[in-house]
Assembly symmetry: C2
Homo-oligomer: 438 residues x 2
């Protein structure tokens, strides 16, 4: 009888392992942040014991959701400006607000709020680009959130950084400072091809590879970006990035709405993954990502929320529902993007995109214990005939009951363990008042 | 000082009155099922008193949501078959299951479950078509739900009814039996133009008008329906219905996906409203309703969930979010369908469609007290800059805290007052097992 940190018993376990096994009366033993054993509850309890036993009798147990592209320090800008054109949204609202408010303390506070919200939504890992990203790293560490973080790199000066070098150096410092932190990875994140010169894109990629860091950027969110790229460089965005040696399997892109067939093939060949932000792309009328083409060409794809300023929530379950339904209609085919595939797009597929498929994205022995439990016994969740369909079409984030990241219990019965919600409420109200001042 | 049944105080009141007034520290007095007074909390409390005071300090207070097209007795078929073609879904799964299971007790039990779920989702009125609709009427009465109900009228025999006459007579009986019930209206609901002969459509409309009942039908859900109509009748579905005298301002249609410009003008002229089922139409790949055309041509439109078997939830807040975002993208315009308009599409606009705009759909003195309260102080709902945007893009149905229908409190702090949820859980589990048997 081996003693372990946590045992989860009697769960409906959705493993997302290569066989897509489902264990109906399943159990997990967790030790030192990892999954030590998984199997039938009776078997597991024959071999393992724990003082911390979580009964999952009416629960779905599955790998934590991964959010492939976010800006969680924008949480206080939720719904700050809506129903307007992208350019006006950015230039008249978001950028001026950021210029006035985005400072280290703002980022830390907003990021804690964002992490708390992510945990409540069953998200256990994010890939996040923003400013003062070391503050986000501190907030994620405090919250217990797994995060790949990067400082947005731009050609032009920001309040905080005067040069792109300063932005790159800041991320390299973060990489050094948090290298022993099990939850945090720093990446290099040039903002986009339209805000970064060729030189800065190349430097960012080179520095990333010199330090074994991931690379992440926005790409082809709008049609205009493609038109401008063709005008400036004579080729489309993916070809442009390829021509400067930027692409590789350490690279992931956000959005990828306007990517043609040749570009899709090139992304697949180079091992570049795409994090699709359906709700944001629809809300800002940017367009519909070519999911069918990505699938046919073998591009690894995942779903992401983007920032709440353009969404206006951090729910991956919402992204799943909307993506699956919208792309069935767009492709005139109700069998397109079946639910099981969509669940993979927020678990094992993003794990692959970020080269972490040996660590997260499924419930298998030896992987990190990033696990969520969802309640089945709610009126709106009954009955249940197919767990994947249930996760995609029926359940809301509020069905997430318990969240474990890196073997640490962060939410139990929808109560956050590490974070005081009332304190966050007060801060959110304070910042709302500040942001509403002229 | 007048004594009243209920006072709601300190709320953020979204009235949806003609001026779209918002009262920031607002209060309502409710007496005999109706709104007696509305105004500033201090004023209201000067004139009215009650033993039942609901503090709405951190709440949005708004008219209950109206679900313009549902089949709530299908609740036990939630997720019964997904990701397949419409014809296979109906012929291989839904119809056989219905033939085996749909009996009076099944309908009553499933409808109670459905009503409970609707209340939890902030829905205070439905327009519902199914079989054994008097059972649904009994369930709605027990649950306290306001409902327009109709027996699906079809040319062919069903287990329950052998002839269309029997279906029509059943609805007329319901009309008579429930005439003194404040919550229930019976309507005549021929299923569709492809399941009802011209004669039966005409009889249904005539009977409805003879008894001052509303008329509701599915129309132009799929492209095939239009093609078949053109083949059979030489005109498109709306023109066909017009040619037989079916249309009028007592008629509403569900879906309305494939309706062209001339048909839209005709619907507007005849005062026929359209209840759009976005999620269902996307999931079954039926298409995108022509919302822009409806608006330009002055057709009254509302949003609806359809049945959970094809959705798979009963959340109107989800329909709002998805409809607004998808139609911005379809129209390549992020300013299209602004949030305020979408909120009207689930309150006052459906009230107009069902000729009940003097009774429900807004918070005004003299109207029925169908009122919901939504919690603002949740991490995922903070901060809030614009209440309409918040309702459409941010909030889930789980933010609904309190529900009042016809002046009766049906949910307090998410606990149902009239219905035992545990009992419903057991029933759902029982029916799930039955439906899973071969």
């Amino acid at each position: 009888m081996q003693h372990t940190d946590i045992i989860i018993r009697n769960g409906y376990i959705v493993t997302i392992n290569p066989e897509m096994d489902i264990l109906e009366n399943g159990a997990l033993a967790i030790e030192k942040g990892k999954i030590l054993a998984i199997g039938n509850t009776e078997e597991i309890e024959k071999n393992y014991t724990s003082e911390n036993v979580i009964d999952a009798s009416s629960k779905i147990v599955m790998p934590g959701l991964i959010n492939g592209h976010s800006h969680i320090a924008m949480t206080y800008l939720r719904g700050y400006a809506d129903d307007i054109l992208l350019r006006a949204w950015l230039e008249d609202h978001i950028w001026p607000a950021e210029a006035r408010f985005v400072k280290a303390q703002f980022v830390y506070d907003a990021a804690i709020h964002g992490c708390a919200e992510l945990i409540k939504n069953g998200i256990t890992m994010i890939d996040d680009m923003y400013f003062y990203s070391k503050e986000t790293a501190r907030a994620a560490t405090k919250a217990g959130m797994r995060a790949i973080l990067g400082e947005g790199i731009l050609d032009f000066p920001m309040a905080f950084h005067k040069t792109p070098e300063s932005m790159i150096n800041y991320a390299l410092e973060g990489h050094e400072e948090f290298k022993d932190n099990e939850l945090i990875d720093f990446a290099l994140m040039p903002h986009s091809i339209y805000t970064c010169s060729k030189e800065n894109l190349i430097i960012a990629a080179e520095e990333a590879r010199a330090h074994d860091m991931l690379i992440h950027t926005h790409l082809s969110e709008t049609k205009k970006e493609v038109v401008d790229c063709l005008k400036a460089h004579g080729v489309r965005p993916v070809q442009y990035l390829d021509s400067i040696g930027f692409l590789g399997n350490d690279v992931s892109i956000a959005h990828g709405v306007w990517i043609d067939d040749d570009e899709q093939k090139l992304l697949a060949k180079k091992g570049v993954g795409v994090n699709i932000c359906t709700e944001c792309n629809l809300k800002l009328a940017s367009g519909f990502a070519p999911i069918k083409g990505y699938k046919e060409n073998g591009v690894t794809i995942s779903l992401a929320t983007d920032g709440v300023a353009s969404n206006n929530n951090l729910s991956i379950l919402d992204e799943m529902d909307m993506t699956s339904k919208v792309h069935k209609a767009i492709n005139n085919d109700p069998t397109f993007l079946p639910a099981e595939e969509v669940v993979r797009m927020v678990t094992i597929e993003p794990a692959k995109i970020f080269n972490k498929e040996d660590e997260v994205g499924s419930l298998e022995v030896g992987k990190k214990a990033d696990i969520i439990l969802l309640e089945r016994d709610k009126l709106e969740n009954m009955p249940m005939y197919n767990v994947y369909s249930h996760l995609v079409y029926t359940m809301h984030s509020e069905s997430v009951q318990d969240v474990i990241i890196n073997g640490k219990v962060l939410m139990r019965d929808r109560k956050l363990v590490e974070i005081d919600e009332d304190e966050l409420f007060e801060k959110a109200k304070y910042y709302q008042k500040e942001l509403q001042k002229n």
